[in-house]
């Protein structure tokens, strides 16, 4: 548990992706089996114990500590598990802290009534860092600050280039902790684990954004066009061994969408967009968010936010891998497959006919529905390759909406940007002359602009709250965003999708920035003509 606790401690504070990978790689390369396997399971969320409730932990610590001092400490520290980890009185013993494997196996086999005594024994034998890891693991609150994908990239690095992270992805969902066959494979001491028909995830093919320079070189006849829908990209996997819905990041989200799982009466792997579709109309992303927030939706949520999948691609038909086929052939197979099965809650993403790039550009500009982000362009001869191969698929987003907003607060960034005020909360003027915050942006500017912005923030600070500075109402930023949505979580009543800074308007007086009304008129739905 010591190595795992150390890893956890460093991951939580480490902002850099490469540094996180280095930490993970070292853990996997140096820890023995099966400890590292259980560690991997804990990191990727596959080991979520809910063996102990916070009340049990509190009861344990209250037996060992003065309640007055515990209350003062809790107030000071905030987090319960952290307070307990820090305050737990040392009990000198010869037993060292438990190994990861011992913890997992004991939790699986110990009756609930005996757990407090077991846990107390472990806490006695551990230092604060191990105690923290133990308590977070046992209460199912382990938040690592590293994605499952990062763990797989680190595993691929342990294999020193012999195995790609995407290959690990393709066997991942057929494996169970502590992953002995996986570690044997990446260590060069075993064969590739055989998924044997298990419903596993395949890394999706992704698109590059289409820049102005790429447009000129585009050969229209080589490409097929589809709408780019504003939902979440999903992979539907149904085999004789099971059904899964995976997010783009390989998270298993099947439980959140039971009506889709129920509709998967076939054996195939499909790529598509999960959307809320009401009376044939795709609804704004905010509606889908209502479903994404729920792990297990009730009947009401299913009725109020009906979901469906718009199919883009067919990767497997039964056991047949179609990914090496060109897009055009896969499309033919997809259409035939859809006609044959006509699965409920699934329709086809329509192909948009066009002859020239100019024509396509007109189509793109004409799409006003908030649920459409723009266009996708896919080469007709493109095989389905994991990752982002150059020149195969393009995403051509609609021109964003923009507002001129006033900077209200600035916060320091993370990692390389920790010395810069790089996160900006901006606001718009309300009727009554008050400036109300409408969003936060931390990208879109150049490095040179960041230096200017940082200097301006430092020279115009009026209040400081920890890492946040409140600034004079004097700096206007042009903010671009994909859509505006009504929100009751924000004081202004509106939330922006993907806000980013497009221009620094040093020239513009703050009083001439946009009014909140202007933004309200851009809200999704209000624009749908």
């Amino acid at each position: 548990m010591i190595a795992f606790a150390d890893l956890l401690e460093r991951l939580v504070f480490t902002p850099g992706r490469l540094a996180k990978i280095a930490l993970l790689r070292r853990y996997f390369a140096t820890q023995p089996d099966p400890d590292r396997g259980f560690g991997l399971a804990a990191l990727t969320g596959e080991l979520a114990f809910q063996a102990a409730k916070p009340a049990m932990v509190r009861a344990l610590v209250e037996e060992r500590t003065d309640p007055v001092l515990f209350a003062m400490s809790r107030d000071y520290v905030g987090d319960l598990a952290e307070t307990v980890a820090l305050i737990w009185p040392a009990a000198p013993s010869n037993a060292g802290p438990p190994r990861m494997t011992e913890v997992v196996q004991t939790l699986l086999s110990t009756p609930k009534s005996e757990l407090p005594a077991v846990l107390a024994g472990w806490l006695d034998a551990s230092d604060a860092s191990v105690r923290y890891a133990l308590l977070k693991l046992i209460t199912g609150e382990l938040r690592v600050g590293a994605s499952a994908r990062l763990a797989k990239v680190a595993l691929a690095e342990v294999a020193e280039g012999r195995i790609a992270a995407d290959e690990i992805e393709e066997v991942w969902h057929s494996l169970v902790p502590p992953y002995a066959p996986l570690f044997a494979w990446i260590g060069g001491g075993g064969p590739r684990p055989d998924p044997a028909g298990a419903p596993v995830f395949r890394s999706p093919m992704l698109a590059h954004p289409l820049e102005a320079t790429d447009i000129a070189a585009l050969l229209p006849s080589a490409y097929r066009a589809e709408w780019k829908w504003d939902g979440i990209r999903v992979q539907l996997v149904a085999t004789p061994h099971g059904r899964r819905i995976f997010s783009r990041g390989a998270d298993d989200i099947s439980q959140a969408f039971p009506e889709i799982v129920e509709a998967m009466e076939f054996h195939a792997v499909l790529d598509g967009e999960l959307l809320v579709i009401r009376d044939g109309e795709v609804q704004p992303f905010a509606d889908l968010q209502q479903r994404l927030n729920r792990k297990a939706p009730g009947a009401k949520a299913q009725r109020d936010y009906p979901v469906a999948v718009r199919l883009y691609d067919l990767l497997f038909d039964g056991a047949e891998d179609l990914r090496p086929l060109p897009f055009d052939q896969r499309r033919v197979r997809l259409e035939a497959w859809h006609a044959r099965h006509s699965p409920p809650r699934m329709d086809l993403s329509e192909l948009i006919p066009f002859a020239t790039v100019d024509e396509l550009s007109v189509i793109r500009d004409g799409a006003r529905a908030a649920s459409i982000e723009g266009l996708m362009l896919k080469r007709g001869d493109s095989a389905y390759v994991p990752g982002r191969p150059k020149g195969q698929w393009w995403k051509w987003k609609r021109d964003p909406l923009t507002i001129d907003a006033v900077v209200m607060y600035a916060q320091r960034g993370h990692g390389k940007r920790s010395s810069y005020y790089s996160d900006y909360t901006f606001g718009l003027w309300r009727e009554d002359g008050e400036l109300v915050p409408v969003g936060k942006a931390y990208s879109g500017f150049t490095d040179a602009e960041l230096v200017t912005l940082d200097r301006w923030i430092r020279n115009h600070t009026i209040h400081r709250f920890g890492p946040v500075r409140e600034v004079e109402r004097g700096l206007v930023l042009e903010i671009a965003f994909d859509a505006a949505q009504r929100s009751n979580r924000h004081k202004s009543g509106v939330a922006l999708r993907f806000p980013r800074v497009t221009r620094v308007r040093m020239d513009k007086p703050a009083e001439e920035a946009d009014r909140l009304d202007t933004l309200m008129r851009l809200i999704a739905g209000a624009t749908q003509a």
């Binding site: 504070f13 540094a19 001092l69 515990f70 952290e82 320091r412």
Partner: protein, 345 residues
């Protein structure tokens, strides 16, 4: 029966005042006669007429304030040498906080009070260890007086730092450390752990490190970080004031791993809000156990708490029959470890 210390040692707006000796201890404003426990800015302020302190503290005050600014008349008092101040017998013993730090012991008519200043019990290669003095009233700080504060051995934290240097050999490890005491302790601990390469310093750290060396604390090869090129700082350890580690100054470093050496680093939110990537729990104050151990060691029936989390310490002392009193002296930074040194360069 000897007089109770509260009849002759009093809290005044200027600080703690010893009436029969006519002097203040660590006064908050300029006074006629001041006894100074140690050279940190919140305890050693400029502009007094006469100053009594340990020889090392006077030397460090000269470095910080400029020669002569510590007081018009300066008297150096080595540890363990009693003198008379008015009707009071006074002597100093090591406090183990920073080089020269002293506890002030005072006796008047058979009654004895000890003002400990800031102190710690963990070993420190740059200063003499704390000596418990039995007394009637013990005056203590309570910076880390909550049972969540338990400082691990400093060697353990330095090992963590060196492990990280080995894992990220191309990056600079910049350690935030208060310029007086903490910086030199971290350097000395690194040397003991076998780190014999040059250690790079922020400009604000240079004069006090030089002073420590003059006072007989060897720190090995120290170089200014400001003139070293980025490539020279790859794999290097740089010591800088906590205010500089995640600010503009740090942009000259090679992909820095931001470390901070402070007792506050024990609490995650503290480390996170400062943007620290590697928190090092190294403190020049007592943790909870050391504070309570010290109360037992000095055996005083009464303890006065100057600043910090006095409520918790007084609560715990009461359980052992020790009477507690909160002095609530405003001006001693309980956040001292976080305080910024003005950036010199």
């Amino acid at each position: 029966m000897p007089p109770h210390p509260e009849t002759w040692l009093k809290v005044r707006p200027d600080g703690l005042y010893c009436e029969p000796g006519d002097f203040f201890i660590d006064p908050l404003r300029p006074v006629g006669r001041a006894v100074i426990t140690h050279a940190h800015a919140d305890h050693a302020r400029p502009g007094h007429d006469a100053v009594l302190a340990s020889p090392e503290t006077l030397a460090l005050m000269d470095v910080r304030m400029g020669v002569g600014r510590a007081g018009a008349v300066q008297q150096a008092l080595p540890y363990g040498e009693p003198i008379s101040m008015g009707e009071v017998r006074l002597w100093m013993e090591p406090a183990g906080h920073v080089l020269g730090s002293a506890q002030v012991a005072m006796e008047w008519r058979g009654s004895r009070a000890v003002v400990s200043g800031d102190y710690k019990r963990q070993p420190d290669p740059t200063c003499l260890p704390f000596v418990p003095i039995p007394c009637d009233v013990f005056v203590t700080e309570a910076t880390f007086a909550l049972p969540v504060f338990r400082h691990p051995p400093a060697e353990h934290e330095v090992a963590k730092l060196l492990d990280s240097v080995a894992l990220f050999p191309d990056r600079t490890h910049v350690v935030g450390a208060y310029a007086l005491g903490k910086a030199q302790r971290v350097i000395a601990l690194l040397r003991r752990a076998g780190w014999d390469r040059p250690i790079f310093l922020h400009g604000a750290q240079m004069p006090l490190c030089a002073a420590y060396e003059r006072l007989g604390i060897p720190l090995g090869e120290l170089l200014p970080a400001t003139v070293a090129g980025k490539d020279k700082l790859q794999g290097a350890v740089v010591i800088a004031p906590p205010s500089a580690i995640a600010d503009r100054w740090a942009r000259r470093l090679a992909e820095p791993v931001v470390c901070n050496a402070s007792g506050w680093m024990r609490v995650r939110q503290r480390a996170r809000s400062k943007g620290v990537e590697l928190p090092l729990v190294i403190s020049d104050h007592c943790d909870w156990d050391e504070l309570n151990q010290t109360l037992d060691d000095v055996g005083a029936p009464e303890v006065w708490v100057t600043h910090g989390r006095e409520e918790a310490l007084i609560h715990e002392a009461a359980k052992r029959g020790i009477r507690g009193r909160a002095l609530r002296l405003v001006g001693y930074g309980d956040e001292q470890e976080d305080l910024a040194e003005p950036a010199a360069a």
